[in-house]
Amino acid sequence: MTDDDLDQRVRASILSEEVDTSRVATAVRNQIQTQRRHVRGWAVAAAAVIAMVLAAGLSYRAFRKEVTPPLCVDAAEDHEAEIVKGEPRRWLTDLSAIQALAEQQGVPGSAITALATTGYRLERGRLCSLTKQIFLHLVYTKDGGELSVYLRPRGSESPFDSSVREASVGPEDLAYFRTDRLTAVFVDEQSRAQALAFARAGAKVL
């Protein structure tokens, strides 16, 4: 018997056997459907979790927006009017005059120069009213940009805490905090990162 004869007989023998695939086919289909449902279930659950996270994020943003302190809103509007739009105001540009004005309002004159040690240069200063309270408005410059710093002696009514926080009001980005002595708001319409960096540097020296 040649290899071909043998192979042919083996093939014919094995292929003559009946092979019922129905049970296996049904079982496989059922398992695949079950797993697909399982996967769909996970996908739905994952989508729900993502939706919840997004909703929570949006709610948090809305909440943050709602609780932006009125002082920050006023500071942003003042910065917009006096710095961005350049509405005419009387400014002091002499350091000693600004320091004297600060001392009159209970803000240590050393705070003004201390802020200047963080890489920003004092440009001018004046008094302004925010939430019906007098604040010292200082304008510092760095790299051609102007940033506003609003200072007031810290009272028991200070709306801030000691950690530096961020806020946005319209195009203005703000960072604010209080120290043992002062309540401070930093405003920049060009860069939130710059306002925050200046505020963090200021928090260390004020």
């Binding site: 018997m1 290899d3 043998l6 192979d7 007989r9 083996v10 093939r11 014919a12 023998s13 094995i14 292929l15 003559s16 056997e17 009946e18 092979v19 695939t21 049970r23 296996v24 086919a25 079982a27 496989v28 289909r29 398992q31 695949i32 797993q35």
Partner: protein, 150 residues
């Protein structure tokens, strides 16, 4: 479902147990479905399926399979196909390795190269196993052939 009959045919001669064979093929098909992303388009899908089958079979424990006893051929073949039954019996008497390469080469039509890929053994091993399987099968069939000539 493609290749189900071929897989089941081979699985039955690996396990010698219809239920175990169906379980083996079921597991194979599910693994193929889950791992379809790993199948490279343009390669041999049949060989890929059989490779999974043998991986599952070896993973399930080869000792158990070797300890199995072939079921009587009357349970597997239609009555009247005496020669087919005798050949099947002779085939089942081969060692697992010889039976495997013979089934893949002769019944399923794979080349030695493809079988080497399926079983993950060198092609020379496949060729020698196939040659010995044919010799062994002839030997097993000889008494039956003599009886047939009487």
């Amino acid at each position: 479902m493609p290749q189900l009959a071929a897989l089941l045919r081979v699985a039955r001669r690996l396990t010698f147990d219809p239920v175990s064979a169906e379980d083996l093929v079921q597991e194979t098909m599910l693994l193929a479905w889950r791992g379809f992303h790993s199948f490279q388009t343009g390669t041999n899908a049949r060989a890929w399926l059989f490779r999974i089958l043998f991986n599952v079979f070896h993973g399930q424990g080869r000792k158990a399979a070797l300890a199995s006893r072939p079921v009587p051929f009357q349970d597997r073949v239609a009555p009247g196909l005496q020669e087919a039954a005798e050949i099947a019996e002779a085939l089942d008497a081969l060692s697992l390795e010889q039976r495997t390469v013979l089934l893949l080469a002769v019944v399923e039509g794979f080349t030695c190269q493809e079988i080497a890929g399926i079983l993950d053994v060198p092609i020379g091993t496949v060729m020698s196993r196939l040659s010995r399987a044919r010799q062994e099968l002839r030997k097993n069939l000889a008494p039956l052939a003599k009886e047939a000539h009487r």
